[in-house]
Subunit: 456 residues, 2 copies
Amino acid sequence: MAKEYPLDKYIEVIETFLEDPEHSPYSDLEVAKALKKIAQEEPERFGEYLKKIPNEFLGDIALELPEKYLRGVIDHLPNKDLVEVVQELESDDATDLLQDIEEIDQDKAEKIFSSLDKEDQKEITRLKSYEEDEAGAHMQTELFSANIDEKILDAISRLKRLKKEGELENIHQVFITGTFNKLMFTVPLEDLLTFDFEKSFREELTGREEDFKPIIVRDTDDIKEVAHLFREHDLSVVPVVNEQNELVGRITSDDIYDIIQESATEQIYNLAGVDDEAEEEENIVEAGKKRGIWLFVNLLTAILASIVIQMFDQTIQAYVALAVLMPIVASMGGNAGTQTLTVTVRRLALGEIDLSHAKETIKKEVLLSLANGFVFAVVLGLIALIWFKQPLLGLVIGASMIINLFAAGFFGAVIPLVLKRLHIDPAVGSTVILTTVTDVVGFFSFLGLASWILVK
Amino acid sequence: MAKEYPLDKYIEVIETFLEDPEHSPYSDLEVAKALKKIAQEEPERFGEYLKKIPNEFLGDIALELPEKYLRGVIDHLPNKDLVEVVQELESDDATDLLQDIEEIDQDKAEKIFSSLDKEDQKEITRLKSYEEDEAGAHMQTELFSANIDEKILDAISRLKRLKKEGELENIHQVFITGTFNKLMFTVPLEDLLTFDFEKSFREELTGREEDFKPIIVRDTDDIKEVAHLFREHDLSVVPVVNEQNELVGRITSDDIYDIIQESATEQIYNLAGVDDEAEEEENIVEAGKKRGIWLFVNLLTAILASIVIQMFDQTIQAYVALAVLMPIVASMGGNAGTQTLTVTVRRLALGEIDLSHAKETIKKEVLLSLANGFVFAVVLGLIALIWFKQPLLGLVIGASMIINLFAAGFFGAVIPLVLKRLHIDPAVGSTVILTTVTDVVGFFSFLGLASWILVK
């Protein structure tokens, strides 16, 4: 075996997992990664392993596979097994998996769906009705609740039974409901432990209502806002209610890790002109197209900059030093602007600033950029002077540096704020708008000042 | 009141909070933000409010204040109160606050520390001994543990007492230890509820050891790895042990939200040449300096590009169209390279790829970039042809586009992979290295080909 990372390592992961899936040292993601490698190298073995993995565990693993390999799962397994795989998942995951399958093979997805039991069908239909960015799309419907008048011991017996049946996991609190399943209180299990089990919840909670008033989210709330709420209040679980205040689900910390992580990835990618979904699905054609679109936009703005340069082609022919120096001013503007833009976009996303801070943000950013503008005006002015022995050229480049770094600070802050005001994601497209500004201002101010000061 | 966002709103937040701090509808962060606004507008009122906020709550709020305002807190409160503020915090927060105070006023920090009781001093000293990136620095020492031979009912009574004393919060499991406080098992409270309280833990756990084997982290583990672990295994709490496998603390989901969020911010900022710590402390001088350093590095690389241009100044003087078009090739290379770089940096951070995927990553990225290179070579070649009516110029710019987008894909992938191999954060400085390459290759290939093909 001359290969650096032989397949053996991945086969071993799968074999170890198969020995005792319940207590596997590997996470679903690790098993999925190993399967992916095996699928790439030995598709047949991939099929064999798929059949060996118990349906109870296959769903969670399948959810971690990029689309390309999920297709393999669907092709290798009979519908009967796929139904079981979906059924074994928690409601939110089952919905996700079914939607993933739908994107690959709608027919198959429909067949699986119609084979699920009525209860599961109803839940999946409801969860599917939420938009991707709504809290409801990320909640799970499995939770532990009790009526306010229920005897605590009875609730605990029910918990015991549900846990034994494998219906419930990761229970940190019991949600206390009133008539019509309306959410009233949340009782952490650590408090429940200290209650008198012979009493009803109402008896225990009377007089301490304030202590158990839950932080609630609506099913239609923006999931990013929910993630904010988790962070601000250090939550680990939150109950989800509908318009009628009925308890419909819960969102847990693991959903929030993913939301925080994915929002950040989306933002980083968008700032760079990359589509996060296409990249993550490892769909190389789609990813390439999306990147191409942003490159095309960039081409247009670069041509715009070229048109500005062309306005001064006579001047450049007279002073070729201008052609040598002109990219510096544009480049510095682009960099300073990107600094400002990035900080503004990120702080908006983190909720550290909002539109009410627009003025002070712009002021601060202009100040920062301008301060650096003056420093680099002097530095670059001196460099130009020494390099080309022309004092006026140093003056021109210094002045245009100040102008462009002012523009960089101003537009780096204004562009995301305006996008936000227009309810457009401030990370999308802002970099390209910004560099258009700093390129155009950079070239125009430098060449314009040069033709005015040097040529006359 | 003509102001758009009058101070009244913030005063109301504080007044509402003060009415019933225990059940405030506002999070610590919201109260901190309101205080900050008030400090900016009416420093005196800020001081008054500080004195009104009970010490029990002030610590958590102070932790959310940027350094500048924390200084105000320290100046306004007598040491006696500050000691109480620190004492009321959980061990990890107390350590953080004391370290924040230390950075502002070392003398004061020492005085506060020496007034704490011996137990707190010991814990803070231990927590301070960890590096910022170690799990130990992020754990709290308050947790609920029980000896394997303890009767379950006794442990629950202890929990009841500790909760009443306000010593424990957010307890989701009991950590079961053996001799010398060595961690053996983790029992979620949902399971504890189903146990027979009259038995000892050993009696209940015998035969089910596998089900309660905990996922553990070491106090010296990298905190980013710990965050990975939380995500992969959907954890909400993890016990922390030392070298001797003794239970020393726990890390909870709220720490992980912060770690994920902060790592992402750090990465976004580093890619843009911005220092995350200086920006967050709202230390404008420090932030400006740090930005200036990266701008200076960028200046050097821009000068390098200028030197390349100067090599061809004769050619430019002969064909001024070259000066007009040359920024396009460099700009497209910079953009395509940034796309590749960003995806590679992010996927490395997310653990989606590692060094073992180096070859396939580079291959994929070169392919993607090159595919777009060919498309835009044709597009730009035609544009140049139509614009300047010179077929050879179209050929030159098309060819240099292909060369530069190849370089963009190759170096966009290679630079972060090499930095990672050298154990340098792939987000730091990689953008500047990359744009140096794409500028130099862009200008050199375009002007070089032009002087070779057009001039001869």
